[in-house]
């Protein structure tokens, strides 16, 4: 990947909430109109800043869920009841409210159709968010780049973007693999355990095909997946990882 990047001042902007979409019982997608948005690359994130009336500020990073072609910015936020920021974003925020954000940032974890494939995307929980941006970008560009998505959730009801993933999987070149680690509906034909080496080998592609690999999720999940990928023989510089931090939600 080229390190040639346009310098620009990173400024805070004010976006307006255009729409809120309940994805699951615990996750909300916030669709924002952001004036003068410079455009993003699939996989990048933004910093969101909340300011209390007394001036106290709290800041968190959220992956962008929308594709670059969408025009508006969508963030999918998982509500953590003991969190400081997410209960506000996924519970209190309403259409028409304003939100301060800066970005897009994080080019290390990003993919363009021009970067080619094959692609291996592995997401745990809301780690699916930046990977979804890549899939939406791929679909918007009519790309059939060979892509394997492996997504892990506790229960089927916790899996975000369920219907859209099924639609996308009907298109050319994309295989969607799901694993449910805690509870499975009757007749479940997907995987039924935490992601491990055997599952990753079954999903592919093999290291010899030199896939671009993107892994996003909670730190323990990413560690486990990255270790397994290394054991299988994927090149360390082909593996892009994004861990959720100890940010307190």
């Amino acid at each position: 990947m080229s390190a040639l990047l346009a310098p620009r001042r990173i400024a805070w902007r004010v976006g307006t909430v255009a729409e809120l979409v309940e994805e699951t019982a615990g996750a909300v997608t916030i669709v924002l109109d952001v004036p003068d948005w410079p455009g993003h690359v699939a996989g990048q994130h933004v910093d969101v800043r909340l300011t209390a009336p007394d001036g106290y500020q709290a800041q968190r990073s959220y992956s962008i869920a929308s594709g670059p072609e969408d025009g508006r910015i969508a963030l999918t936020v998982e509500r953590l009841d003991d969190g400081e920021v997410s209960p506000y974003l996924a519970g209190v925020l309403e259409s028409g409210d304003e939100l301060e954000l800066r970005g897009p940032i994080g080019s290390h974890f990003s993919w363009r159709v021009e970067d080619g494939g094959p692609l291996l995307l592995v997401g745990g929980g809301s780690g699916l968010v930046p990977l979804m941006s890549m899939l939406r970008h791929r679909a918007a560009r009519g790309s059939d780049v060979e892509t394997r998505l492996l997504v892990s959730a506790r229960r089927l009801e916790d899996l975000i973007y369920r219907a859209e993933l099924e639609t996308l999987a009907a298109g050319p070149g994309l295989a969607v693999h799901r694993t449910l680690t805690r509870e499975r509906p009757a007749g479940w034909d997907g995987h039924d355990r935490r992601v491990d080496r055997e599952m990753l080998e079954a999903v592919g592609p093999a290291p010899a095909e030199r896939p671009h690999v993107f892994v996003c999720g909670p730190t323990g999940f990413v560690e486990q997946v990255a270790d397994s990928l290394a054991e299988i023989g994927h090149a360390p510089d082909a593996i892009h990882a994004e861990r959720f931090g100890p940010t307190g939600g």
């Binding site: 990947m1 080229s2 390190a3 040639l4 990047l5 346009a6 310098p7 620009r8 001042r9 990173i10 994130h45 910093d47 968190r60 990073s61 959220y62 992956s63 936020v77 998982e78 953590l80 003991d82 969190g83 920021v85 997410s86 800066r102 970005g103 940032i105 994080g106 080019s107 290390h108 974890f109 929980g125 809301s126 968010v129 909670p218 730190t219 323990g220 510089d237 892009h240 990882a241 994004e242 861990r243 959720f244 931090g245 100890p246 940010t247 307190g248 939600g249």
Partner: protein
């Protein structure tokens, strides 16, 4: 991003906002050579430890790559090792 996970570090990519404040550019895809072990890794693949600022460490050996202390009115920055940049002119 945003989880109850309590691990004490995340990826350099995750502190891209602060790095952009410091460098005036998005630098997570820039490759940095470690002055200690010689490993080359993208800034976004370094380990980021957060406290009253951020410490980025080499993902291979843990040697410090950059210290950024966030003070109310300014960032205090100490850079170590080799940072190779390509930035467009003008």
């Amino acid at each position: 991003m945003g989880s109850e996970d309590r691990a004490n570090w995340l990826d350099g990519n995750g502190v891209a906002g602060l790095l952009a404040e410091v460098f005036g550019a998005e630098v997570t895809a820039v490759v940095r050579g470690c002055g200690s072990c010689g490993a080359e890794a993208a800034v976004g693949a370094h380990r980021a430890y957060r406290g009253a600022g951020v410490v980025l460490r080499c993902p291979a050996c843990g040697d410090v790559a950059i210290l950024i202390a966030q003070l109310p009115d300014r960032n205090v920055v100490q850079v170590r090792g080799v940072w190779a940049f390509e930035l467009p002119r003008g």
